[in-house]
């Protein structure tokens, strides 16, 4: 029997959407399968609460009609965590209401709250695949999407009801839609560019960096038209930029009711809050940073320490290839200016895809080379650069696969496929194993190049933040060992997070959280350099310096649990 051909048409179309969506759904399934083993970080508790309030307000429109639009009603709901825009928190809240309260799809309310964030990770994978498939070929897109998914830090943050993976998804979606709008130039794509930019603005502050990539790119793509118009005394701007400039802020304000009153004042407060954001503690190379200036080496070192090495090498291969193409183009252009003919000039890309990706990558990482940019978020604040990093890695894989094909000529189709599958396995199994092993200690995990988790500790890199590992201490020690009604000093974990862990049966319900080691039978220390002082405080309070139990990852202390003698 002859099997039907699985060959896809050259044109990128619905089948590619199906492939991208399937990759995203597979990732979503993986995230859902592992989500319960991840405790609640400090920020998540705040967003659960804010999301619940926001969703309640949207529901109140139906219940209360016009009264819901009174400033008092809006502000009472949206004042909660108004330093971040509302889109994701609204989705967290609506998801919690629908998938937990109403339809009982998820037993844990937290899983329902986290679903939109996980779905955003799936969206990022989908778009990354499509972008790579359209920009180069399906092989590039496929490998790009998978290598993006198999970054341990991405996997960690993708579980959370936070904004870092959502803004990563919205960032790459915005870049993609902008790119398509410049190609297709239909009203639909142009409107979509504005709407998606607005959604990105309503996701996280990083979106304000997007114009630094999109504006110069669009102007460069349409430079001849812009120049011609200028010479004629007119101003002609790319329609997608106009759409973003007009629709973007409108969408932001429309979906963030907090801005409906005192709009300018509240926007100004929002910017000022982030421009003068507090510095939190973060360890880097054995030193605790708690104020400006931030070390310029932070981003490059952390990228090398947390992104699988094979992914970075493929990125370098892909980026150098695109850089070489750009160099040849510039050389040909200079030659033309000088009236010389330059051999081997690459064909012009009317969409300037390489330039767009490069600008998008640079816009996402550039702020972290400024001395005043806080670094307390670890790698999460520059994650919007990672889909682009993965796209270049996908391109790199494509080049390597092509080189392999040239080195092994004469293979029949089946053998070609087998060697390509082997190559694919060689570059993805490592990232898969590292990512799978990192869970749930994604913030403690470092790549083998620097020695894994223990290597990260040797180098003095941050072990964790947000106090989310209390759940591990409970599962491994407190739940089975603590006497009934015992008191627990929960250190960096918030009261909300503790209460929710008890509500969902992750922590025994009879255990009582307290705020000081001196009041506790059990005291937790979530290990971070600056948290050492809490450790020493417990030594005096408990009269012993020996933990009863330690939650470890690859032999590295994550949480010490003290039991008062």
């Amino acid at each position: 029997m002859k099997l039907p051909s699985l060959r896809l048409p050259n044109r990128i179309g619905w089948r590619d959407h199906a492939i991208g969506a399937s990759l995203g759904l597979a990732y979503l399934a993986w995230l859902l399968g592992t989500v319960r083993s991840l405790g609640f970080p400090r920020d998540e508790g705040v967003y659960f609460h804010a999301g619940t309030e926001y969703a309640r307000w949207w529901r109140s429109i139906v219940e209360r009609g016009g009264d819901a639009f009174q400033q008092g009603a809006i502000d009472s709901a949206f004042s909660s965590n108004h330093e971040h825009p509302a889109l994701m928190k609204t989705l967290f809240g609506l998801s919690g209401w629908l998938f937990h309260e109403k339809w009982h799809v998820f037993t844990d309310a937290s899983t329902a709250f986290r679903l939109p964030g996980m779905a955003m990770a799936a969206l990022a994978i989908w778009v990354t695949y499509l972008f790579g498939a359209r920009a180069w070929n399906r092989r590039s897109g496929l490998v790009a999407a998978i290598l993006f998914a198999l970054m341990p830090r991405v996997f960690f943050h993708a579980h959370l009801a936070c904004f870092d993976v959502p803004i990563t998804a919205m960032w790459i979606l915005c870049v993609y839609v902008h790119w398509r709008a410049l190609e297709v130039r239909s009203l639909g794509w142009i409107v979509a560019a504005g709407v998606v930019f607005g959604l990105a603005l309503d996701t996280k502050l990083n979106a304000w960096e997007l114009p630094f990539a999109l504006v110069p790119h669009a102007l460069f793509v349409q430079r001849h038209a812009v120049w011609r118009a200028l010479k004629a005394g007119r101003i002609a701007l790319p329609a997608s930029l106009v759409s973003m400039a007009v629709l973007g802020p409108l969408v932001l304000i429309a979906l963030w009711p907090y801005l409906w009153n005192d709009t300018l004042g509240r926007l100004q407060w929002w910017f000022e809050f982030h421009l003068h954001h507090d510095y939190y503690n973060i360890e880097f190379l054995g030193k605790n940073y708690f104020s400006a200036p931030s070390p310029k080496s932070y981003l490059p070192v952390m990228v090398v320490a947390t992104v699988p090495t094979v992914t970075l090498l493929l990125f370098l291969v892909g980026a150098m290839d695109r850089g070489a193409v750009a160099f040849r183009r510039v050389r040909a252009w200079v030659g033309k200016l000088l009236g010389r003919t330059v051999e081997g000039a690459p064909p012009r890309d009317p969409l300037e895809t390489d330039l767009l990706l490069a600008l998008s990558f640079l816009a996402a990482i550039a702020p972290f080379f400024l001395p005043k940019t806080p670094i307390f978020g670890g790698t999460k604040h520059w994650m919007p650069a990672y889909p682009v990093l993965a796209l270049f890695a996908g391109r790199g894989f494509d080049l390597v696969a092509a080189a392999m094909g040239r080195a092994l000529p004469g293979l029949d189709r089946r053998r070609q496929l087998a060697t390509q599958a082997l190559l694919f396995a060689c570059v993805t199994f490592g990232p898969l194993a590292i990512t799978e092993h990192s869970h749930p200690f994604g913030l403690s995990s470092y790549v083998p190049l620097i020695g894994g988790t223990a290597g990260g500790a040797d180098f003095g890199l941050n072990r964790q933040f947000w106090g989310y590992t209390t759940q591990d201490a409970a599962e491994e020690y407190l739940n089975p060992k603590a006497p009934r009604g015992a008191t627990v000093f929960i250190h960096d974990t918030t009261w909300d997070a503790w209460a929710r862990m008890q509500e969902e049966g992750r922590v025994r319900g009879d255990l009582r959280a307290v705020g000081a080691p001196g009041e506790a039978m059990f005291s937790l220390v979530q290990h971070e350099l600056h948290m050492n002082e809490v450790d020493y405080s417990i030594w005096i309070a408990d009269g012993t310096d020996a933990p009863a139990y330690i939650v470890e990852h690859d032999g590295v202390p994550i949480v010490s649990v003290y039991r008062r003698p």
Partner: protein, 302 residues
Amino acid sequence: MSRTSLQRWAFAALPVVGLVELAAHAIQTRSVASDPDWEAARAYVASQAKPEDLVAFAPRWADPIGRQHFGPGLATLEREARPDETRFARALEVSIRGAHLPAFEGWRRASVQDFGSVAVTTWENPAPAQVIDDLVSLVDPQRLRVSRGDSDCNFVHGTPQSGNLGYGPAVPGDRFACPGNGFVGASVVADLDYVPHRCIFAPPPGNAPLRLRFADVRFGHSLHGHHALYVEAERDRKGAPVTISFKSGGSTLGTVLHRDGEGWKPFELETSSLAGQRGELDVEITSPGGDRRLYCFEADTR
């Protein structure tokens, strides 16, 4: 291999890197020191360590695991929160991953015993100091009187008080309670590098001197010590300096200044004229500003 062949097969570097990364991950995640290794090392150290020996763990991040396995009998507070290593004639360093503490550079490596992934290195100090009296161990109403300005600080035996991040050093149960909520007592301070040091917590109030009078101190040729402020009190470098003066028999032995940002700062005062004698030692601590001067010092005679 010709250049053309090299170019032809250069692509192979990428899958090789992928496989090496996978193999390295497998090795790294399976080479963790096991509990039996730690327990075997503990049994060895327990059989070898004398009370005056140092027991230390390397790398520093492994310290909690060392304390868990070795317990407070071997990983004592005096060893863990030591002022420095000069007083120890011998150190048993328990290490994983081939790490060593920089403090032992210049010491003689007497022996190394391996217990699986855990190694115990015995180091000998080429020039150990002979400590005669350690002031931190004299924080006791029989040996110490404390006053702040004109008010005496009474010794109390209460319960320790501690807090979360930012609270400062824990308040020990045994302490001299000063009027206005201050106290003097032996606690553990996190220095600028977040290293623990057992010391006498003695914050100057700003408007009056804090005085400590130690009785029956045995003097040697020097008074050796360190001082610091709790890390969050001095890391911003905005606070007033703290001055500590040592006197005995009416004569000043020395005055030392601590400025914010200096961390765990050592000092050494010459006391040869008092060597072999016993007497009172007066300590006066002052600061022009009392805001968050969470000051701690330790000293010994040697």
